[in-house]
Subunit: 156 residues, 6 copies
């Protein structure tokens, strides 16, 4: 196991020096779930047709959040992202799964960007539906896969 790399010689946090790392194509895929009352999920799907589209708002929130990663996560480098895409699917009649894919061509990876996009999309679903279901649960959020850079390929 490697050392934790985010601390300096005063044992304080630093932004890791990546000046000499190579620019390579990188991507990361993350996922997460939100569980709710079947009635809530029903409303979301009806909504898409009749009342408005909860998932469209969640999609945009996730994409925009990915671009704010370095403002929110203290030791993250700013990374100009080259692509962000988000998909939703129902697991069953109580669960929506979000899958995010983030790409870049840069010296560091975009794992945090992908997870943040997933978290934000899920929280936006919560926000849009909380008036009818405050007990929703956000769960199983993790990196699915990443590639590019020195540490190479990872699958969960």
């Amino acid at each position: 196991m490697d050392e934790l790399t985010h601390f300096n010689d005063q044992n304080r946090a630093k932004m890791v020096d990546v000046t000499d790392k190579k620019i390579t194509s990188r991507f990361a895929v993350a996922t997460g779930k939100i569980k709710m009352h079947p009635e809530t999920l029903n409303r979301i799907h009806e909504g898409k047709i009749k009342k408005g589209d909860v998932l469209a708002v969640a999609q945009i929130a996730g994409i925009m959040a990915a671009k704010q990663t370095s403002s929110l996560i203290p030791m993250c480098h700013l990374i100009p992202l080259t692509g962000v895409d988000i998909h939703f699917e129902d697991d069953n009649d109580t669960t929506i799964t979000v899958t995010t894919k983030v790409k870049t061509k840069h010296v560091t990876g975009v794992e945090i960007e992908a997870i943040l996009a997933a978290q934000t999309a899920l929280l936006t679903i919560y926000d849009m539906c909380k008036a009818i279901d405050r007990g929703m649960l956000i769960t199983d959020v993790h990196l699915v896969e990443k590639d590019g850079g020195k540490s190479g390929h990872f699958t969960y």
Copy 2:
């Protein structure tokens, strides 16, 4: 069950009109977990003494994120928060639980602020430790309790 309130008469998203709601004291408590290798959790605790303090960074990230809620979650109102506090504890040798408490005196509640603070603290732990453990899992994120406002008291 109430209607989804975030859509207008064109079935598009809107920021709900709260102009005539009463200002009251409100709080929300949220929680979430991050699961990791026992070795990773060990390093975090050692780190607190010898190498730096992962949870101190996560704490600050969570507090600062709570203040950015209305920038990240599309239909959230800007709420001047009157207090944010965050606690961490170990569940067992593989899990850290975060608990956040957010307070305000305003026309809408701070559930989303509390959950976002929890999510961001957990993702910061992931970011600080990902070099040694990319397979960490963020899970069981939910509102624990809220009070204040027309919808009254809620516990999960």
Copy 3:
């Protein structure tokens, strides 16, 4: 005609002192248009059904921009908005009109917030469609109506 109120005794810009102004309910309505090839407008409407919803993205962008007004317009006060709503309609086969309504209960008005929401929604339409029509024109952006505060009611 009143004096320009945004300058100090060194003839430099300042944020106008509103400390002693009264909190009142206020709203502002703004509008603007984007003109395009009939084919582009056609695609937007088809898109709503078959390919995705340009106006849903524009709607969310406009609402989120309204919340960023004080970060973008140098002398604007931060105003906690109590509601934002946006509507789109076709004028004819080449023009979409956006109408925004912003509300607050505060010491200053939300005219700039309403216009910024309109401008951002229109620019988002441009961005989403520029691959097929770079010659779109954003035009006729103005305040339609505002009410509340010392200066009272205004209609264009």
Copy 4:
């Protein structure tokens, strides 16, 4: 006509994948107008000498807004800009025209950045003068010219 490229296979918005596009020098020029009472324009020009400089504030607002483009326009990539310049001129005794030029060396163009800079400069003029003239009109905002990248040269 090309396809609208901002939608994924679920017909939802995505940030277009530009990972494999070439880095080239690019620029975009945009323009827009604000129409007002002749007395207002008069005050702006007097102001420059006696009371403060409305256009100096508008200039800075426009430049700073160009840097925020990817935070405001949902599907825009973050682009490190290499230059931003803004000019104002009077068309006649009721109209100020703004012209913006934005440059980069990147994989995507800066059309949106140039238009956003123009819109923000114009809205700042409105904000600085609204106490004396709420009926100002922002109009004729469009891309003037762009160059660089696969789609090549464009003039309005």
Copy 5:
């Protein structure tokens, strides 16, 4: 001497709970200096007439920064400011002094806002002139006076 109030029972940072504090009118005045080559100061003053206005840019930067205080300083509450004003004067042929005044009607004070406005105005002067004088010194930055709230009046 009072306790440091920014730490919780886990000895970690928190945003202090101000839910029950009274809303009162408050202001804070801060100051700071930047020292430079006499030739640099000369250029700034010439610039005002012939080439552009360094202090106009610094003024706007300071005002806009005051509005971002809660995003930058981790434990600061978001405070809707009711006024910001900034003045510059020469101390002698090598020094510019900035004085900032920030006002609010809120539950907490605006000392940090006033100091941040001063620091940002001074750093903007540095940025605008660094091509001709990298050795400038920012110094003597402090709160001058504040009033309002439980802790009452303070002068340096």
Copy 6:
């Protein structure tokens, strides 16, 4: 002495055109001090052990601020930073000195980023301790060293 480069042919501010500058490895080191009552400094050090860690908050604030430089300083280019590190030491029983080091591989330097990190770390110390010592003084803030780029090496 070179010309002030931040003004255009209308004598207004612009973001300098760096499109054709070469990408090189660059760094900047900055410093600054905060002076306080000996009792305050004592509390900070005690705090590290018993009550919480003021400098840990200041460290993170400084690093996060460096990433926001182009949002705060009007004519600064956005620069993807490749590393940020911050150290604190006591000069004597009334003074903490901060030293920041910022790195990038880009077309412009990071002097402003380094100074802003120092200023923000110092202001965060002020904020965390102001309840016990409002008379703290931030002073001696300057660039210490920079390297890389056409202007080459500089030491204060």
